[in-house]
Symmetry: D2
Subunit: 397 residues, 4 copies
């Protein structure tokens, strides 16, 4: 039998639990989100994580031996969408960026000792982490080849120098995974949060505010790291980045799809009740068009995420699938939220509904994890290469 | 394990055969398509159908006992996309509209005798058929409640009076399935092609030309039909229409997705070779954007079709899924073709490439089988009803 | 000679002065804008208004006898676009909403005494004002017929009861123009800021923050207003609202076009300098597409504003023209800002560039002053009425 | 007084006459347009041109001394929009492409003798002409630098060799203006229709059919042209092309805007009458949205055309203005026609309404006269250069 969209019972049951958890336990705390600070206070985070553990929904992407649910990419796609219905959900369930991507990377690349020191507490939620790759101009951004932070060997240590920005979660992170240029490539390093050679110079004031630890501007000045804190092989950093990037951009899609769905839920509920022009808003044609387009965008987003998650589960790099999903979902989820806002009129732009918050937090996703333009460039290049090789672009085979 | 996008081996093998058949046997005949006539000449149709039979790709949607391949909706989705890569493909493989939808309807609703008389020759390709529902204004169109053709009982016969238009395949059809208003609803009738009470007054000159038999304006004047030619139960016509409409709009999507993919293939091949501004066209950013957007639209279209096909295979009516797929695919496949045309510049609008032909044939699909606006209206109404019932709009559960 | 796009010398000279004033005097203060408070501090406002007066750019829309520049709608279109290049510009120049619209309304409708009491200090910038029409659901919003605030005559006074929201500038306003339902229509009242029957219950937390006095939720409880504070005739409020609404929505367009242009200026400057993929960002095709689309949207926005301003200067109500301009500009200016943000990547979403601030402030404009959907509804109805009357829709005559 | 949108009385009066002429005299002949042939038969063309002369609407762009109306670009913008309401209108009024552009070019560049031989009969409508610049790949297309047709001096003659395609009006043209590569640039030549060295190898089968003489594939084989048939100076061809291209792309916009308006007129009339879902189509929200968007696109298109026409009348090259107008109008006029088609449902795609014909004829305009992508590239480059030069992109000054 060819393909199957059935969500199996265990996943469905877990999703139901997550949905209840988000609705009953997380959403009531959303008022803590404000434009004045990033993420939620540490105490609330701990409290919600304990509740998530009690509800059996904690750390869905983490390995079982580290206390996680050990889900595959497909089950993750279902669960993380549900977690995203609140901007606080992923942190509450310990499956937010960048920790969730770092868990995946460490699981695949770290040594046994590194796992004990970094992966274990990260899965347990006792520490947060960050992933320090992006650099201010001129440096590694859309074009990773422009990496300018360097690491040079000095005795048993490596010495890192450079500047990074948009380092999500930097403030208060227990450790950072830092990408630096080495002799014949790039190398990843595990840098402890209290390393005196690394400092968060400032937090960037961004449109979005839901990420714990904000987005840091991080400076490395003669930052010494012992050689056993190299993550994986020297000079292989770009390869590991690929290991992380595909899945990490996909989990972003899942969470943001959940957030877009939340905005849509709120807007449809509003349209169903709001009297206007002798009918309800939801009976007016232009409102119906927005509602329908939201349903279409949500369905298409989910289908592309699922397909890419399945491809990852087949052990494929799935770069075309994850790039397609990332580009489409970042734009579609934003459209959904934008329409939800428009549907709610004035109510949509004040913080009594969650839509404005979701809106501001979601817009940057068209830039984070590869701007749409860079993904389109990759997608097109693969398509042209297919044609040049005599294969069919747009093919499913 | 939750969901699975694997296309199984038999389907994949069949698809490969279809692809070869289309490329080697059908595409060389595409020059017969011209704006002066609809579809291909009968002899060519017969010749290609024989070739399809020989290649083992004939009548993929027809039941095995009538010589078809008896595929389920999922396998159909894969095979009909491949058939659509040529505008002649579906007719060559006897899976074109409206025959393919009529085969499905007859299989589900017809009596044994009706199956012998109508379904068998239709599956064999010895006759064509049509489905006479749409009426000129004021009559049943986007709003089926406006049905104005009537059937009244007279002794052992029914007598049909009214006017229909956009009756695809009417000219030369062996029989028609005719929808008419009866006392307590609507009823479907099997009307033979040589019934003197029915005549094709004229063929409509439409933008599209690939449908055999064109789009007829059909007049029923005291058209007598024996009572045993009622299809299913009297007054139950709208219910049967639903049986046919969901799958039929989805097979349309499959074929048109194949056509859009073909346009994309041609355009990417062109872009890969065409020198421009010191590079190839395919290396220029704005061209890459169009190519990438095509890949995204194709992937999303396919994923939505597959999901709806799966839902139909679960025995669900899948109205939301098929409406979402129809709306998205009709628009996305057109966008793909439009971009393919733009990519090819002047070459895209002349008939040396197949793009202009596909373009003109595809545009009406945003109107046929329910205009996008009517589907959006349905989708939105279901979404609002979900909200009113305390369920979540945009949900996957 | 038929039509003429020449901007005359006095206007051009004034625009040049405004441009210098904004660049040199206003933009350096933009850092005061923060999401924690609305508008700028009163002292800064006073300081900038003094500077504007000194620069000869103060109160461009106010009558000359009240110290303004007394410009017509056309000159206003040029000058207010320039003022909008900073979110602080319009307030600095005393041509921001809602004061600027209230000045227009008072000039047309107020009695001599009312002008002395309200118009004069408003033009001088010694007080701010607000316009209290919109109500929370169910009440007057997109559909003004749902007006629920009432005013009843009691002796020499009127007594107002009801609730309003999104009352821009309410906090700290010297007076409000309040729309309330009266026996045979709606009536406008001038309510002093210290009237004990009116209170700003709270400020709405909105996405936008540049409006002085924020957006208030205002409660009227037995708010007594002397009969000589009726603005214009009793029961004629809807007619006066029209007098104000057309021009006021157009000045909004002018200011927001200036803001969009600023975002575009910043983004093009960034693209011209930013190295990427071996070129500058501005040489990459997808970036060029965004830059070109911005130029197109800006040019079309300006042309539609100018045309509507000209129509107002001819003494026409210009409802179709102002609705078309409002709908197009609100969406186009937002697209421009969105593309500017995307062009700048990470830099676009942090507050070191002004784009994110403009973005958040501009999004609500698609809802304020009539959501796009309500304007489209009006535009379409006029178009259909034209056709019904035998005239040509889309006509220029 | 700054800017003015008044259409003066003489232009308005002439436009009224054109409107009557198109409605009463031209539209009744539209049924001659068929996909089997290009343009209208010569006799009909002569008959309609005589009628246009009688109505005082003939050759609006031609100089008065050659029997034309000698209008400036602004008056042309009004009149050619009206002419375009029928696809036959511009040919009937002798202001169709490419003749109208050639008239302009000859007037500016031709010698007195050349004017007598070529301009005079062209203005009189006794002959048609063509403009042979575009070449099949690899050759001059979107990138004019790839010009491959050559002209070499041989005694008193020039000898042209090469291939051209998309040469509108080639079949039956009295003469061609041919662009060929010469030693230090490109040169334009006047080649008589009966020159044995030039032949129309075939007519391209394109989507559009309204151009008299079709789009030819033209071959030059040792085509000898006397030296006095060089148009302007040797090697200055690209400069003259610019003289022609700006205005010619703008007149295209005017005519197509008229065609789009016609489609809109038809669709609004249809929507006003068509009963649906218990209302008329024109009262349904999604239909209203399409109608309103059409009004907006038409208004914005016209405003951009007018502004560019005014700039040309100021003697400016107006490249940014004409590129912006061309890009926007080609896309907007197509959107208008697409929505008009969708509004009319099935009726929109059959040839009983003129919409499908307009649709197919208009689509290529996004490619002709510079594809949208090439114009965007030019627009963006100018914008970036402005920024680099310290000027403001998006500026009106």
């Amino acid at each position: 039998m060819t393909y199957d969209f059935t969500v199996d019972e265990p996943t469905r049951e877990l999703a139901t639990r997550v949905r209840s958890f988000i609705d009953a336990t997380v959403i009531p705390h959303e008022t803590v989100l404000s434009s004045a600070s990033h993420g939620m206070p540490d105490e609330l985070r701990s409290e919600l994580q304990a509740a998530a553990r009690a509800a059996g929904v904690f750390a869905p992407t983490a390995p079982v031996e580290y206390g996680g649910l050990g889900l595959d990419h497909r089950a993750i796609s279902v669960i993380l969408e549900e977690s995203g219905r609140s901007l606080l959900g992923p942190a509450a369930m310990n499956c937010s960026a960048p920790d969730e991507g770092n868990i995946l990377l460490l699981e695949k690349v770290a040594t046994t000792e590194q796992k004990a020191d970094y992966l274990a507490p990260l899965c347990a939620g006792t520490i947060r982490s960050c992933f320090a790759m992006t650099e201010p101009s001129p440096g590694a951004g859309a074009d990773p080849e422009m990496l300018s932070t360097t690491a040079t060997r000095d005795g048993d240590d490596w010495v890192i120098n450079g500047r990074k920005w948009f380092i999500t979660g930097a403030q208060g992170a227990g450790f950072s995974i830092v990408m630096a240029k080495t002799e014949a490539g790039a190398t990843m390093f595990l840098v402890d949060g209290d390393n005196p050679g690394m400092r968060v110079e400032r937090s960037l004031h961004t449109m979005d505010v839901s990420f714990s630890g904000g987005h840091g501007y991080v400076v490395f000045e003669d930052c010494r790291v012992p050689a056993d804190r190299v993550l994986g092989q020297v000079d292989e950093g770009f390869r590991y980045a690929q290991v992380r990037l595909g899945p990490a951009r996909l989990t972003h899609c899942m969470r943001w799809l959940g957030a877009a769905r939340r905005a849509h839920e709120v807007a449809v509920g509003y349209a169903a009740r709001r009297p206007m022009f002798g009918a309800t808003l939801g009976e007016l044609g232009m409102a119906q068009q927005m509602i329908a387009d939201n349903e279409i965008d949500i369905a298409a987003s989910r289908a592309l995420i699922w397909q890419a998650a399945w491809a990852l589960d087949q052990g494929k790099p799935a770069r075309q699938e994850t790039s397609i999903a990332k580009t489409f979902v970042a734009e579609a989820a934003f459209r959904v939220t934008d329409r939800a806002m428009q549907l709610c009129g004035g109510s949509g732009i004040i913080d009594e509904l969650p839509i404005a918050r979701i809106y501001q937090d979601m817009r940057p996703f068209r830039i984070y994890d590869g701007p749409s333009e860079v993904h389109r460039w990759s997608i097109a290049r693969r398509s042209v290469r297919h044609a040049e090789a005599g294969r069919l672009p747009g093919d499913w085979m």
